[in-house]
Subunit: 229 residues, 2 copies
């Protein structure tokens, strides 16, 4: 996975035949496949076939599959949001909600952003704008602000993953709940909590709950700092 490709793009040549494809077109098709059938369905063969080309032609545009996935992530996450910010809390709430929404729009992006990998300009842009929202007079150190943003991002990721898992209730969840009812005696708290959860609101509520708790905790620290100083 070459970092340069992600940041500097691909120098387009002047000579030779006109390219029939574009990086954007390839990425869009790959994203469409991933949206419809998951990240596992994205193969060079599949993407090329969707474009009416052979798989090897894609390698004229991309060094390899890792770069394709990186481009998919950058395109799926979108430009960093413009935060119509008053307080840091309002700004970070907006930021988290938009990140959560982006994950929900493209559930595969959760799977695609695990493990060690180079970050693209947009991904860094998102971090930058969250840090900026938290920066103005919060009294937190740089490390603390990084940690806070990481917690928020992690929360959005986790909830998006859970929401995606709940989207497809195709038998596996049925088998799972069958297991829970069978061994329910071993997990009393869990069965009770899940019974309650079933009635009330969906995944957005869970996200908002966690987000509010995190921001409450952050506010408590910021208040303490501002009092002391």
């Amino acid at each position: 996975m070459s970092v340069e490709f992600l940041w500097d793009g691909r120098a387009q040549p002047t000579r030779g035949p006109k390219p029939a494809l574009t990086l954007e077109g390839i990425t869009d098709v790959a994203i469409a496949v991933a949206d419809a059938e998951g990240l596992a369905a994205v193969s060079m063969q599949r993407v090329a076939a969707e474009l009416g080309k052979t798989k090897m032609s894609l390698y004229r545009y991309l060094p390899g599959k890792a770069e394709l996935v990186a481009l998919m992530i950058e395109r799926a996450i979108g430009e960093p949001p413009e935060l119509s910010a008053g307080s840091w809390r309002a700004a970070l709430t907006q930021w988290s909600e938009r990140l959560f929404a982006a994950y929900l729009r493209h559930p595969w992006s959760v799977d695609a952003t695990v493990g060690r990998r180079p970050l693209g300009p947009r991904e860094l842009g998102w971090m930058e704008c969250a840090l900026a929202a938290l920066g103005s007079g919060s009294g937190l150190t740089g490390a603390e602000r990084l940690d806070a943003v990481a917690v928020l991002a992690g929360h959005a990721r986790m909830l998006a993953q859970q929401a995606a898992a709940r989207l497809d209730e195709d038998g596996m969840n049925a088998a799972m709940s069958e297991v829970v009812t069978r061994h329910g005696a071993r997990f009393p708290q869990l069965t009770a909590a899940m019974r309650e959860t079933a009635v009330e609101g969906g995944q957005n509520q869970a996200f908002t709950f966690g987000l509010d708790r995190i921001l409450d905790g952050l506010a408590a620290l910021i208040d303490r700092r501002s009092v002391r100083s």
Copy 2:
């Protein structure tokens, strides 16, 4: 991926040749490979070769690779911790730290626990014991307790992933920081925060910071509830 296999195991036969392998042995070897070379290095071929057998012999013990990974997770996460609990806060702190430690011991388990998949008994056991710690008189609803546990688990996961990424500083991080310095002007907050972070403490500090913030937020809610009632 069959749920039954995870929960009921494999009925061991009486007749026929003595099995040369055991499920535990296979799982242990697979975990050893994953610990040393990452989850991507775990293939049926590789695990079988490590055991001195052909890959197809493994299918006498496991329905498929998905089940192997599921067993690896169950074995790697370990038994749910016995929380020497006083307050809910102490208990959840201990719980989160042990989960974080488990992720650090087996960094591949972060990659292995993405996406929709059936949960094993130990994984549910961990949830159960966290819910129990939060249950006694916290005043939270079942859904809220589930959400709170999810936030804590997500935090442990995210920080473990970051820590694992920072373990191998093999050139890619170098290329990455080269990019950041080149485009540093676009990310002033980020570069400033990262410069600060470099000097002070490691990943444990980041984990503790986020954990404390989450628990602070949770405490604020619980206090509010107990006052009102």
